[in-house]
Symmetry: C2
Subunit: 391 residues, 2 copies
């Protein structure tokens, strides 16, 4: 394994659950330290949809991400670099992650699971991934149809320009329906791209960014094992579980377990694109430290407030569009101390939705952010308590 020093980064496991692989850790970056398990909120295009970074901070958010794919196309890495990086560009002083662009290229190129079922085309230009070669991937910009060539080297260079703390290797993200032969060939291609990503990262190493490898291998146990062992053997700071995690929650749990068994036991581990509450809890018990998903903020923009099921007739969220909230003078969540719950009633949020005021999405986003942070805090407290009990 090639050596790589990450002097401004550190991951320290402070507590372990004696019964599972769950752990509490401190993830130190040049923009601050976060406690894990934690949730990373999506600021895809260098914006947390509808809320300012100052508001997100007030709601308790610790760490956010942006997507290299979107920023590569608009405004381009050079403009962000001219600002001194994403932190300055979008006004966020805490830790940040960027992905490599791979997921979007291939998810837009292959289409989503739902898209496959419904026969939906991904873009006005049809499948947007034009060609995958040993060298990289050629795809069409969803903005203007221009051809773009993304290589592992370019993915790293763009992430250097963006300047997030945590950065990801370029991988090919295989679709849900891939057979084992394709998944295996693709995984080996991803491994070669990961090595090239690492080499390019090493060549331009500043100490201010830390690289995560990505485990592929689809739903196949032997492939997940091989990929996890590969990622664990390379000089990455962290590791992420990506690719197809299966068709349902049970299979996802199995697939993450296959990878988790062979991951590096001391490195910070991210589960890509997963944010359902039960999925987070499951992931934590398998040793996952961080999670990201658009769900909490997207749900907010569609009128949904995350809330403990005991306050929502057993459901995981309230739908504030519902007429039953018209005269409900309670806060969204009676146990919540977020800016929205401190000031506003369910009746007011319902009114905003009925009146077509986008402020509803903003207020619900702030609540859902605070809620996810509360969930992460509870998970950490649970692990700490269990670790103390066992002494």
């Amino acid at each position: 394994m090639a050596k790589m020093n990450y002097p401004d980064f550190k991951f320290t496991i402070t507590h372990r659950d004696p019964k599972t692989k769950a752990r509490v850790g401190l993830l130190e970056t040049p923009h601050g330290t976060i406690e894990t398990p934690n949730f990373i909120f999506c600021g895809t295009k260098a914006a947390l949809k509808g809320v300012t970074t100052a508001q997100a901070k007030e709601a308790g958010v610790d760490i956010i991400l942006s997507n290299t794919y979107h920023l590569l196309l608009q405004p381009g890495g050079k403009i962000v670099e001219a600002h001194g990086g994403l932190h300055r560009f979008m006004g966020w002083e805490g830790p940040m992650l960027t992905d490599s662009g791979g997921f979007q290229i291939f998810s837009l190129g292959h289409g989503s699971v739902a898209g496959e079922i419904k026969g939906r085309r991904s873009t006005p230009w049809g499948k947007s991934t034009l060609k995958i070669t040993e060298e990289g991937a050629i795809f069409r910009s969803y903005l203007d149809g221009q051809k773009v060539f993304l290589t592992p080297e370019r993915a790293m260079q763009t992430q250097r320009e963006l300047g997030a703390d945590l950065v990801l290797v370029l991988d090919e993200c295989t679709p849900f329906h891939s057979d084992k032969a394709y998944t295996e060939r693709s995984m080996h291609l991803s491994h070669r791209w990961e090595k090239r990503s690492l080499a390019e990262f090493a060549r331009t190493h500043t100490g201010k960014q830390a690289l995560y490898g990505i485990v592929q291998g689809g739903v196949y146990p032997d492939l997940r094992k091989e990929s996890a062992q590969f990622v664990a053997s390379e000089a990455f700071f962290g590791q992420a579980v990506g690719g197809s995690l299966g068709g349902d929650k049970d299979q996802m749990h199995e697939v993450v377990a296959m990878a988790a068994e062979h991951l590096h036991p001391e490195r910070p581990t991210h589960l890509l694109g997963i944010g359902g509450l039960s999925d987070i809890v499951n992931g934590v018990t398998l040793g996952m430290d961080t999670f990201d998903c658009t769900h909490p903020t997207r749900l907010a923009r569609h009128g949904g407030a995350l809330i403990d099921p005991e306050f929502a007739d057993g459901r995981p969220h309230l739908n504030l569009k519902n007429a039953r909230f018209k005269e409900d003078l309670n806060p969204l969540d009676p146990t919540c101390t977020c800016p929205t719950c401190k000031q506003f009633t369910r009746s007011y949020i319902h009114h905003l939705i009925k009146a077509g005021e986008l402020l509803s999405g903003q207020l619900l986003t702030l609540h859902n952010m605070a809620y996810m942070m509360k969930v992460a805090r509870r998970i950490r407290e649970g692990i700490k308590a269990a670790s103390k009990v066992m002494g």
Copy 2:
């Protein structure tokens, strides 16, 4: 003149410009004191479009308004009253004004000047004002087409439920094209409605709200004089200049001057629906104390940043959609200390607009709010300086 006490309200003129009718005043309300001249921002449906009240406060906003017409239809006055009024409902602790609903009924009913020119229908149900009688106005709800009957008494009752500090009488707002005979009949109807508004207000007087009369009379000097004298003679706390102010800026200046000459000299005076910078300056010299307009916040949602013309090639705003801002690392306004200008570049705002991120509207709204407050502050400082010079 019937007596009416407003013990929790006070308007004190502290400085006068020796050359014009411009003055600086302190307007005291149960929710705080503002200095005038000042600008009232529109929170039409109990929401400042796209920004929270906390953000508006941080941007320096002193006073906001909501529209009785919209809130009467959705969510209805009773729901707001159950919250303890608009302040609690929408989370605003400072002074607030509500209009009577008249302007929207008649502007939607008669259609706007632009709508008249373009032959535009105001609602899916055509002209929405169905009938104006001595008793009140019957109109169709823009939400569901239901018939609604608004009388001076109901306008006051709804404003009691809404609970704003400053409230307005119901008037008929005549359209731009009205001839003198119609304008005169309409003005006299408004005067009778204003008396009924005042009687209903007196009947339910709590001391926590203060009533403004409205001067009508269209573009006709003798009618404006008669109306201003009528309003000045009644037991209103404040007075507003409304109705058709003419077809262009020069005529508006003349019409406001006609009214101003006969208004009560010591009462706080509001110019309804006017917010262009030169119009505000003109209005101030005629003795107007407060102004409201959707322009600054609407402009923001369309990508416009208010800025002193010397920083914008002589124009009153920058259009951030323009590609020339793509790589512009300057803040919107180099002299501005608002949260947006402290943190973000023109390039970032341009990127947000290009990327379809509504955050652009939010950040520009905060800047435009701060800008309008700066303009109001400069006007006050100018009057204070002039008053001192004259000793």
